[in-house]
């Protein structure tokens, strides 16, 4: 890591958010760089001091506690009373969710709800550009991927002279495990997020013959190009600042 990276990622380090490998890289730099060591030390001291000050909380006032507890007591005794109402409400909301899901699925190519949040997540990952947990080519990466998950998917982009796989890290999107790949495409960093079974409709389509990946969304925002593919049981988003990336998905 370089000094500017130390500065960028010092919060992740002091908050214990780094994976072992990143932590080791970070500490290797600190060991050799006194300026960074002092700076990270000072930043940690500041964070600790703030935490200490914040922890000195005045107690909750007695009158507030009394009123809160009275409200909680009432709510506890009325939950049983409302049980049937709640069941009816749940059925009604489920019907609405189903109807909504149908409407959304009809409105492509406009990004659907989950597509939209997946795009936001992908763009955020591209902007954050965390270092990969594992570096190297597809061959060297597969053993690590299979440690992360059972039956790991193949890295989604085909490698050629223009497109090179550089590394990957394990991440999560919502409650799903996902893999974040870093490719180098014509000298630009390209962030590729691969989410197995991202969407309900895909999960439902399981068992059908595997389709070649299909482009579902292609657009630009904040100066970045985003494309989203569905197929092979995963959803793949590609984010880069390259105007027209010439990429091919692994068939």
């Amino acid at each position: 890591m370089r000094c500017d990276e130390i500065r960028r990622f010092s919060d992740l380090y002091i908050d214990g958010e780094f994976e072992e490998r990143e932590k080791a890289l970070f500490e290797a730099h600190l060991q050799s760089c006194e300026a960074c060591r002092a700076q990270v030390g000072a930043w940690l001291a500041f964070r600790n001091a703030i935490r200490k000050k914040m922890a000195e909380q005045p107690a909750m006032p007695d009158d507030v506690r009394t009123r809160l507890m009275a409200g909680i007591g009432k709510a506890k005794s009325s939950t049983q009373h409302n049980a049937w109402k709640r069941v009816a409400f749940a059925v009604a909301s489920m019907a609405m969710v189903v109807a909504l899901g149908y409407m959304v699925s009809q409105s492509r190519p406009e990004p659907a709800l989950e597509v939209e949040s997946l795009i936001a997540e992908s763009v955020a990952n591209h902007e954050a550009s965390l270092p990969p947990e594992v570096e190297g080519t597809m061959a060297s990466m597969m053993p690590v991927l299979s440690k992360w998950m059972d039956n790991p998917p193949l890295p989604p982009l085909r490698e050629d002279q223009l497109t090179r796989l550089e590394g990957a890290r394990l991440t999560r999107v919502g409650n799903k495990q996902a893999i974040l790949y870093r490719y180098n495409h014509r000298g630009h960093i390209m962030t590729v997020l691969q989410v197995p079974h991202a969407f309900r409709n895909l999960a439902a389509a399981e068992g059908k013959p595997i389709q070649p990946p299909k482009l579902v969304y292609d657009g630009a925002r904040e100066g970045l190009n985003i494309s989203l593919y569905e197929g092979h049981g995963h959803t793949t988003t590609v984010v880069s600042d390259t105007p027209r990336p010439q990429i091919q998905l692994v068939p």
């Binding site: 500065r7 960028r8 919060d11 992740l12 380090y13 002091i14 908050d15 214990g16 780094f18 500490e27 600190l30 060591r37 990270v40 030390g41 000072a42 940690l44 001291a45 500041f46 964070r47 600790n48 001091a49 703030i50 935490r51 200490k52 000050k53 914040m54 922890a55 909380q57 107690a59 909750m60 006032p61 507030v64 506690r65 009123r67 809160l68 409200g71 909680i72 709510a75 506890k76 939950t79 049983q80 709640r86 909504l100 959304v104 990004p111 709800l113 939209e116 949040s117 936001a120 997540e121 763009v123 955020a124 990952n125 902007e127 954050a128 999560r172 919502g174 409650n175 925002r221 904040e222």
Partner: protein, 223 residues
Amino acid sequence: MGRARNDNVVDREFLPHLDALFHFGLYLTRDRQAAEELTQETMLKAIRSAETYEPGTNAKAWLFRIMSNTRLNQQRRRVFEVELNDRLAPQSEEAAEVSAFVELNRSAEESFVHSFSRSLVREAIEKLPEDFRTVVILADLEEFAYKEIAEIIGCPIGTVMSRLFRGRRQLKKFLMSHAVELGLIDPFAQGESTQEEDSPLENVTSMSSYKRARGSEANARGE
């Protein structure tokens, strides 16, 4: 699910977090009355949805998420349903021990904070924009992991990192300028520490694509 079971969950797993919820509410609303109402509403929602909570999982993060969503709904900035049945990941055991590695630099950064009263630090935190304030409180008062914060506030983890990065640095700037005013620090000697640091993750927040994502969700619901 019987009522007895729910009462049990409420008493054992929800009530121990009542004080923490109230304090989070105080920081969010900056008003005692509003914080009390927000806490009450959060607890009522939690009790009504107690059966969707999986006992023994991360009750605190679950409750904080309800409060965070309730607050957002109140402000009508984003309107969305509290997704109560999503289970949160178990709380991370502990932050990695890093203090053993870096030498704590007690000279400037820490001592000037220690010389402040609690209320001055609170005031500085309350000056932060609410988005930043929320993340700073969740990280530094409640010591949630980034992933938990992302789930509580419903944002990508990159946004959490960016807001925390900027929030903490803004906080330091406020406090430093107070310290200079009070003559605790010589502004010239501390020139290095007061200098602006740009967030490397700035675009994550400024791009606001997340907000748009939420916006389009609201549109799709006809709101």
